[in-house]
């Protein structure tokens, strides 16, 4: 499989994650104004919340694997800002995996901080690619951060892939729920205790 094929694959994944984040944001904002939209959002959340931690881990793991593919197999060395984004993403691949196994939504705040920092760095990197004259008067072969190394669908580059990964991880963390919260949904509260069993 060529580098270009894999780049196209990751770019398509990026587009898919962008759609997911946009849908999540639209449902959240729409739900504030419309009960029908809130109901749709609640159903979607309920269907995903049990798997959200595992999905977030999947996103982090694929992001980590993808970045390692480019540096170690495709021999495209990461620039300095790419390294900083790796510092935010790689720990997520580990801690979210552990949290998914333990079903521990307490990971949320720690992972959100990492995702937030990564998003900020990736956003700065993306604008540097778009306005490279800030830092360079020539395009060096040793991959400066102002060089757009890959470019797909007129907007997807390496830092944009990172932004998309961090954002979809953040959305999944926000909808993740603990097993006891999920079990509470399965039972009509009135039937949880028979009357004579209640104090």
């Amino acid at each position: 499989m060529s580098v270009d094929t894999l780049t196209t694959f990751f770019a398509l994944l990026t587009v898919l994650s962008n759609v997911a984040v946009v849908v999540a944001v639209v449902l959240w904002i729409g739900g504030l104004f419309s009960p029908a939209v809130a109901e749709v959002g609640a159903r979607l959340r309920d269907s995903l919340s049990g798997s959200a931690l595992a999905l977030a881990w999947s996103v982090a793991a694929v992001s980590m694997a993808g970045s390692l593919y480019y540096s170690e197999i495709a021999h495209i060395p990461p620039c300095l800002l790419c390294w900083y984004q790796r510092i935010a993403m790689y720990p997520l691949a580990i801690i979210l995996g552990i949290a998914a196994i333990k079903k521990d939504v307490g990971i949320r705040i720690y992972a959100l901080v990492l995702a937030g920092v990564g998003t900020i760095i990736a956003t700065y990197h993306y604008q540097l690619e778009r306005f490279p004259d800030q830092t360079s008067i020539a395009c060096r072969l040793d991959t400066p951060c102002s060089t757009t190394t890959i470019w797909k669908f007129h907007y997807v580059s390496f830092p944009f892939m990172a932004i998309s990964g961090f954002l979809v991880i953040a959305v999944l963390l926000m909808i993740a729920r603990a097993p006891q919260e999920l079990e509470g949904d399965d039972v009509d509260d009135e039937d949880a205790l028979l009357p004579e069993e209640r104090g």
Binding site: S136, L141, T149, D186, P195
Partner: protein, 234 residues
């Protein structure tokens, strides 16, 4: 007092025994959405789509089929602007290749001063340099007795502004263009470290200057005119 009403769902549920002997409704499990099978299916579909979509890009890569022959020793790595260049006075390598439409393009030590411009489609500075040079060329012919030859190198189907032939066509590029091979042999022979790279040689085929980065067309023409006036064939 027993509760008069229970939810219909609970009433129809099978029940377990409790401490009081009354049956306790079994917790109803919601049907879970098969998230991961759906995810795997989506990934497989995206993989197929990516394979189909990139087939055109990879097979159309002009560098993939380009052949370049380099004769003579390569130049040392081009320094950054302002630094001393150890290649000054060295013989330029002779390079034979082809243009995008298959015509022969050669860089030879033929007694004519030259400016050789290395560009790549994904470099934002090249994308400023090319139209600037073309606009100057539209008003000022190449100085008599000199040549300007361009080399399209470092072609990357995943990169911005691909393919290079369409880019240069859009810019109305009139100068000869040699397509470098997939190993960037011509660029490597001239010690390219950054784009764009200008290499100026005198009538004896010796390097007089290398410039990495934007170089104003007026300055390019100035160097060539100076080289042409000091050429022994004039």
């Amino acid at each position: 007092m027993a509760k008069k009403s229970r939810s219909k769902a609970a009433a129809s549920q099978p029940t377990k025994g409790s401490a009081t002997g009354r049956k306790r409704p079994v917790r109803k499990k919601k049907k879970s959405v098969p998230v991961f099978p759906i995810l795997v299916s989506v990934l497989v579909a995206l993989g197929i789509a990516a394979t189909v979509m990139s087939r055109g890009g990879s097979s159309g890569n002009p560098a993939a089929s380009a052949k370049v022959t380099v004769t003579g020793g390569g130049l040392s790595k081009a320094p950054e602007q302002g630094a001393a260049d150890p290649a000054i006075g060295a013989q330029i390598p002779e390079v034979a290749g082809r243009s995008f439409d298959g015509k022969d393009v050669v860089i030879r030590r033929d007694g004519r001063p030259k400016a050789i411009l290395f560009v790549t489609h994904w470099c934002h500075v090249c994308r400023q340099e090319v139209p600037a040079v073309q606009a100057w060329l539209d008003e000022h012919p190449v100085p008599e007795g000199t040549d300007i030859i361009s080399v399209a190198t470092s072609t990357d189907p995943s990169g911005e502004n691909y393919p290079p032939d369409k880019w240069l066509e859009r810019e109305g590029w009139q100068l000869p263009v040699m397509v470098d091979d997939k190993n960037n042999s011509a660029a490597g022979a001239y010690g390219l470290q950054a784009f764009p790279l200008w290499v100026f040689s005198d009538a004896d085929g010796k390097v007089v200057m290398r410039v990495s980065g934007m170089f104003e067309p007026e300055q390019v023409w100035g160097v060539l005119e100076q080289l042409a006036s000091s050429s022994p064939t004039k």
